[in-house]
Symmetry: C2
Subunit: 200 residues, 2 copies
Amino acid sequence: MKIHYPAGVKAPTNSAEITSKKKRRIHPKIAAGNRGMAFEAAINDTNTYYLEKGVAVIHKKPTPIRIVKVDYQKGAKITEAYFQEPSTTDYNGIYRGKYIDFEAKSTHSATSFPLSNIAPQQVKHLRAVLKLGAIAFFLIDIVKTNEVYLVPATYICDFYEQKPRGSIPLSEILTHGYRVLEKYNPRLDYLPILDEYFFQ
Amino acid sequence: MKIHYPAGVKAPTNSAEITSKKKRRIHPKIAAGNRGMAFEAAINDTNTYYLEKGVAVIHKKPTPIRIVKVDYQKGAKITEAYFQEPSTTDYNGIYRGKYIDFEAKSTHSATSFPLSNIAPQQVKHLRAVLKLGAIAFFLIDIVKTNEVYLVPATYICDFYEQKPRGSIPLSEILTHGYRVLEKYNPRLDYLPILDEYFFQ
């Protein structure tokens, strides 16, 4: 059975895998479902690397969960809870004194990035932080080509609000985005792109 | 039965109450357990006010939860999960282009603020963001006098790391902190303190 989560709500991920320090190569043939998790793990590993080097402090926010029942007889075991729609993006933090804010998304399409991947409140959130001087962007994982692009949030928000179509052609992502090279460590070294294009 | 959460882990709060737009006066005689929730609600209301005015984007991070079992037959109902220790502070965001980071704590003592309220990894986190140029602080709710103080994180971290004693005397909090006045709206207007003492 396939579960359809509301826009912007992610399927639960295995936190043990995400926080694992084990370095894995992302292989293009990795199963589609695992790919999103592997992408998230690569970002988390990268952020851990930055944190340990003292270069940047950027964390993934926990998935918001609405708790209904807690069993206090068993050491505060949550027995009924539900996933909630996030009102912000997944990642934020600080780099070179600036507030950093981004969202990570995978697309399995060979031709486009569907806007249904993005929740309206995330666009609203990005607009609000951009107005206050944030550095905001998307990390987009193109599964078919095994490439990751950093795309400025202003471009994605403009496209989303004008909605000339339901998805952004990948050619546009390649034009307006910057390729994030996969390395051994850090796995997705995106900060140099910020240095070059977002800091003057 | 009283549950002892690990340092820095909060008891589950009723999210309906927290996100309520209803304005309530915090009364000094409010039950101790509810007081922490009322304090959190006051901060959240304040941040909502700032967000709506476009002045600052500051959110409380969701409580990190380790999910063990999800029942997909019932629309992704979480049936087994546990509270986790947060590795960061509860609140962060952006104001006047700067990265803002803070933790909110209540103390029921009439004489001191116990350091056991703070988890070691929170001090580590605050040190890391301060080093990168963050504006970081604590909002300390002194329940007995019904007063809230904004105390710079540098002061609290210094005290915590040197640990001359297990708690900070309230007289020190009053000396090194700035009183946050409770108003009707925003309820805990802490940004003017940042304007005056953290921005030059």
